[in-house]
Symmetry: C2
Subunit: 358 residues, 2 copies
DNA sequence: TTGTAAGCGTTATCAG
DNA sequence: CTGATAACGCTTACAA
């Protein structure tokens, strides 16, 4: 995979046009500085010679790469197949393109995020879902590259954008409460890397906090029995509900921390012979595009995923975080409950046991 | 978004260690060439100074970017939210990472793919779903960068990987035929860009060919009435079935050219009061992960999406296509039918009209 | 084993 | 308005 022949350089064009390299550069970048016909002459020759400026040389000289890095602790294979990241990336891409920036995914390389960060040549980075325990944050901060964090309230002193996870989660729990539910199962997101697992990831902790805050007034506590975790995927949701069921959990409602998991749970419920929402109510979190097309359509907590991506870019371009600079802007985006068809009034339990409201 | 302070360069390390820049370079890239303690001394100092080689300078000097470009005619926002591309990209990413390569998405920039290609700094490109009419193919070929095409049989003289679209489509049609269906609706993929629209994209034409080939022996022809097209998305599928229905189509089976569209069609069918598969059989194409989790699970044509991505990388690394080189390897991957729950024996029509086999 | 110096292809600076 | 000339930070012959 080597280049076959040498490509035309700025020097070739300069020589052919009988001008300096600088003049050629001007002809493309600041044509106002040259006389009109010099510009057109140079451009003509450049076209003839099929000259295209080398992006790498340009980056080196400009000391800018025109690229935004999207840093995630998950591998690219999970990133690309995860609808949440898809929508988020779409938001980032839209805003980045508008600003003339490309985006580069920075994911663990051979297991090392640090290595990946070193190899990436970017003007700034958007770090998604990074806990405070990630050393990469310090690594980037030291490097002096501007960055913003997304979904990491733990990093309060960095500029970043987050959604109201607690509030959204509370809305979901309250909704179920109002429908008369008393036996809950929480399906949580298990942090991706082993190192994260020690301390639950920010999102998980915050949403759990929201559920608890809403249920407490009703005298309901979520003990370990009422919580299962797994990867934030469809399979993860299936597995989670199966596992909970196998160990004897008999909820009338499940609070899933992601739509993917909620959809998986719906699938698993069907396998267990439960009708959703009649035997089991399920509420998700995210409001993916897909959520409105499931059967039944998914009741879920909406968060503005694409906008989150756009805001992150805006923040980054507006300054990001610089070395030793005072903390800058924090964005908190609102969440809201979208009631669709996967939740209903609590009725008799799945095995004919009438719920006595205990 | 400017760098706050100057980062440590190789010259800084060299001076601090009292060696030449070359020695520092060797210490990292070819330590065998230096004495063991020189290496460790240099490395220690480099660590102290927090030296990290500048990737851009390295690219320029090496004349390699260690990056593979993924070229698509669709915008990044559709790429990232399309599960097919997600799985494909995951395959590419896996293979690329194993080879120490990063991947860069090359999508129309401000509407121009050509511009995007110029700005991209890559060692090779994988072009997905490009028709022969795309001038970018020539652009890249002229540039001398190795490339492979995916899903474009029109470009027979380029190395590339394709799946057996005709065969797979025929399998799908034959399956429905065997179930007794006689009234079909084809939901096709509408090419993304207006320029492509003139001539149907390769995939669409090939799959349609497969359907026709299978139906012809049964004396069934697909006229314009029997075909609707739309974007390859869930919404596209919903829209397509609705439109066909509105204009009077009353099929007992639909052949969708993508799983996303098939799932959309299932949704639209439900809205129309049709039960799948009882009133309407639906078969998709792709076999996305999602296909097994729909309700009912989707009968579809499986294609090895991830593997397609991996093979493309392999081909590219194995040489790709060079300027003026003889055509190189073509890969044709097999497809197969996966029968699940969305297809059933043809029965009475949706409005109680008994199908007389006409 | 290590150093020297010539690139790599731009852009930026500063005279003319 | 134009053009030398010097960065930019690294790799890599080639010399020592």
């Amino acid at each position: 995979m080597e280049q076959a022949t040498r490509r035309t350089t700025i020097a070739d064009v300069a020589k052919a046009a009988g001008v300096s390299k600088a003049a050629v550069s001007f002809a493309f970048n600041t044509p106002e500085r040259l006389s009109a016909d010099t510009v057109s002459r140079i451009r003509d020759i450049a076209t003839t010679l099929d000259y295209r400026p080398d992006p790498v040389a340009r980056m080196l000289a400009q000391r800018r790469t025109w690229t935004i890095g999207l840093l995630t602790p998950q591998g690219l294979d999970v990133i690309f197949t995860n609808p949440y990241f898809g929508e988020f990336s779409a938001g980032v891409a839209t805003a980045a393109e508008a600003a003339g920036m490309a985006i580069q995914f920075i994911s663990p390389l051979h297991g090392s995020l640090t290595r990946a960060v070193d190899r990436a040549s970017v003007d700034g980075v958007i770090a998604v879902g990074l806990g405070a325990e990630h050393p990469e944050v310090g690594q980037i901060r030291r490097s002096g590259i501007p960055f913003v964090v997304v979904d990491s309230t733990a990093l309060r002193d960095e500029p970043g954008v987050t959604v109201d996870d607690e509030g959204g989660a509370a809305l979901a729990a309250r909704h179920l409460l109002e429908l008369g539910h008393r036996r809950f199962l929480v399906i949580g997101i298990e942090p991706p890397s082993a190192s994260d697992r020690a301390e639950p990831t920010g999102v998980t902790a915050r949403r759990l906090g929201g559920y608890r805050a809403a249920l407490a007034p009703a005298g309901i506590e979520l003990d370990d029995e009422a919580i299962v975790v797994g990867p934030a995927s469809l399979e993860g949701g299936i597995e989670a509900l199966r596992r909970a069921w196998a160990r004897g959990s008999r909820p009338t409602a499940v609070l899933a921390m992601s739509d993917a998991m909620a959809i998986g749970a719906m699938r698993a419920a069907r396998e267990l012979g439960l009708r959703v929402p009649r035997d089991l109510s399920i509420v998700g979190f995210d409001d993916l595009d897909l959520a409105q097309y499931t059967d039944p359509p998914l009741t879920t907590v909406h968060q503005p995923i694409r906008r989150k991506g756009q805001e992150a870019v805006r923040l980054l371009l507006a300054g990001g975080r610089h070395r030793d600079e005072e903390p800058s802007e924090q964005q908190l985006l609102a969440t809201r409950l979208v009631v669709r068809g996967s939740t209903a009034r609590a009725s008799s339990g799945p095995e004919g046991v009438v719920d006595d409201g205990r």
